[in-house]
Symmetry: C2
Subunit: 281 residues, 2 copies
C-alpha cells in the first residue's frame, strides 16, 4: 500500500493509473476506521482496479461547538487496517493544502440540506460537499463509496454529482452494526458503558417502526410518535430529531405510499449518534 500526503503526488500517481486504463475507486473517510469503513473498502476492491482511501478530518463540516479537535485520530492503526484489506493508495492530505490560504469557494446543495442533520448542524453539509468535491477533483474516481449510515450525506452527494455533471458513480453500502444492533461509528468510542447500553434503543426503535410498517401502519405522525416515545423512555437519551421523509427528496409526507427514510439523531451525554432505516410497506 502506498501512502501519499501531497495533492501533487496523488494527482501524478492517479494520472498514471488512469493512463493504464485502471478503474479508480475512492472511499473518503475521516479516519479512525471501523468495520463500516472496511466494508466500504472491500466493496471498492470488488468493483475497481485501484482502491484509494482518503483520511481527512474535515474542519469545515464541524460546527464551532462541535468535536473537531477531539475527533478520534489514529493514523498508525488506520494504516494497518487499510493495508490489511488490500487498499492500494492511502491519501492523507494536509488541511493547509485542502484549504489553501484565503480560500473562499464553496459548493452548496440547496433544499436537501435544510432538513435533518442539515437543520441541526448549520453549515455541516456545505463542509461535506465542498470537501468531497475537492477530493473528487484530486482523485477523479470512477466510483466513490459511502455508507448508508449517513443517509442524508449520500443523498446530498449523489445530488451534487448529478447536478454538477461530475463523471463518477456513487455507490451506497448498507449500514454495518455491532452484533447487538448499534450502528458502527467512530464516535461510539465517546460513549460510557451506560450510554453504550442505552444507545441500543436507537436500532430497537428502528426495528419496531419497520415491523409496524410491515404490519400495515402507514400513518407517519403516529410512527414518529411511537419511535419518539420508545427513545424518550430511555433516561440517558435526548432526542435531536426523529423524522420520516420521502426518498430521494427528503420532503415531508403524511403517509407511507413509497419507500421513505426514517432518520434519527439522539444525544447520549455529549455524544450525538445518528441511525436510520428505509421503511417499505
Amino acid at each position: 500500500m502506498k501512502t501519499i500526503k501531497t495533492i501533487a503526488e496523488a494527482k501524478k500517481f492517479l494520472k498514471q493509473a488512469r493512463l493504464q486504463g485502471l478503474t479508480i475507486g475512492l472511499v473518503p473517510t475521516m479516519g479512525y476506521l471501523h468495520e463500516g469503513h472496511l466494508t466500504l473498502m472491500r466493496e471498492c476492491k470488488k468493483k475497481c482496479d485501484l482502491t484509494v482511501v482518503s483520511i481527512f478530518v474535515n474542519p469545515l463540516q464541524f460546527g464551532p461547538k462541535e468535536d473537531f479537535s477531539g475527533y478520534p485520530r489514529d493514523l498508525g492503526r488506520d494504516s494497518s487496517l487499510a493495508e490489511g484489506v488490500g487498499v492500494d493508495l492511502l491519501f492523507c492530505p494536509e488541511p493547509q493544502e485542502v484549504y489553501p490560504a484565503n480560500y473562499s469557494t464553496y459548493v452548496d446543495v440547496e433544499g436537501l440540506t435544510g432538513v435533518l442533520c442539515g437543520k441541526s448542524r448549520p453549515g455541516h453539509f456545505r463542509g461535506v460537499t465542498t470537501v468531497v468535491n475537492k477530493l473528487f477533483n484530486i482523485v477523479r474516481p470512477d466510483y466513490a463509496f459511502f455508507g448508508q449510515k449517513d443517509a442524508q450525506q449520500v443523498l446530498v452527494i449523489k445530488k451534487m454529482v448529478r447536478d454538477l455533471l461530475m463523471d463518477l458513480e456513487i455507490i451506497t453500502v448498507p449500514i454495518v452494526r455491532e452484533s447487538d444492533g448499534l450502528a458502527l461509528s467512530s464516535r461510539n468510542v465517546y460513549l460510557s458503558r451506560e450510554e453504550r447500553r442505552a444507545a441500543l434503543v436507537l436500532s430497537l426503535s428502528l426495528i419496531m417502526a419497520r415491523d409496524a410498517v410491515k404490519s400495515g401502519e402507514n400513518n407517519v405522525a403516529l410512527l414518529k410518535d411511537r419511535v419518539r416515545q420508545m427513545i424518550s423512555a430511555e433516561p440517558l437519551a435526548r432526542i435531536d430529531y426523529v423524522e420520516i421523509l420521502s426518498l430521494p427528496d427528503l420532503a415531508e409526507i403524511n403517509s407511507l405510499e413509497a419507500p421513505a427514510l426514517l432518520a434519527l439523531a439522539v444525544f447520549f451525554g455529549k455524544t450525538r449518534l445518528i441511525d436510520n432505516v428505509v421503511l417499505e410497506s
Copy 2:
C-alpha cells in the same frame, strides 16, 4: 470538426482522446463568435492537441431583467467560424442537460464576487462559476482559455480552480479591440450607430488613465474621478461603475503601489459594455 450536443457523447469522445494522451484545451463561450473568441481558439490550438469550444448561452448568469432571451445567437455562423480556425470539437449542450430537473447545486466564490459586475449583477457570478464548473467536469480540460475583457470573471474562475483543487490551468488572453479601440463583445451588435461612436470613450478613458499613471499619477481617487469625468462628458454614456482595485484580490486601494485593475461598466442606451486595463506605474 466534430459537433456534439449531448453530454454523454462529449464525455465518451473526450475519454478516448485522454486515453490517447492528448492534451485537451477548452474555450467556453456563449456563441455569437467574434475575433476575440477566435483569438482564444488560436491560442488553444497552439498549446493543446485537441481544441474544444463550447457554446452555451447560460441562463443562470443572466438577471431576471437582463438580455438572456434576446442574447444574439447564430449557430450556423459560429460553426463555420470555429471550423475555419481548426477547432476539433464544437460542444453545444442543451439547457435541460446542463441544468437537470430540480437541480439545486451551486458553486460560489465569495469575496471576489461582491464588487464590480458582481455588485451590479447579483447572482451573475454564481451562474458563471456553476456553469464553468459543470463544463470543466464534462470536458476535463488540461487548459481553459478566457479573455481578459471579462477581467473579474478570469479572477473568479482562477480562484475557483485553485480553491477546489481542480486539475487544470486557466490561460488569460489579452483583450481584442476594433481598430478604433472598442473592445470586441457579442453585445456590440446591440449598439446604434451613435452609441457605437459614443462607446469609444471607454477605451479612450482607459488610455488616458494608463498614460496618467505612466506620468507618475498614483492617487486612485483622482484617477477614478478623471475617468468618470471623461465618460460623463459623453451624453449617450451612463456609468454603472468605474473602479480601481488591487490584483488579484479586487480590494479597495488608495494609491497605486502595484499593478491594479481599472475596470468600468457603462450603459449606452440599454446596452451595458465593460472594459478594463491593468494600470502599472
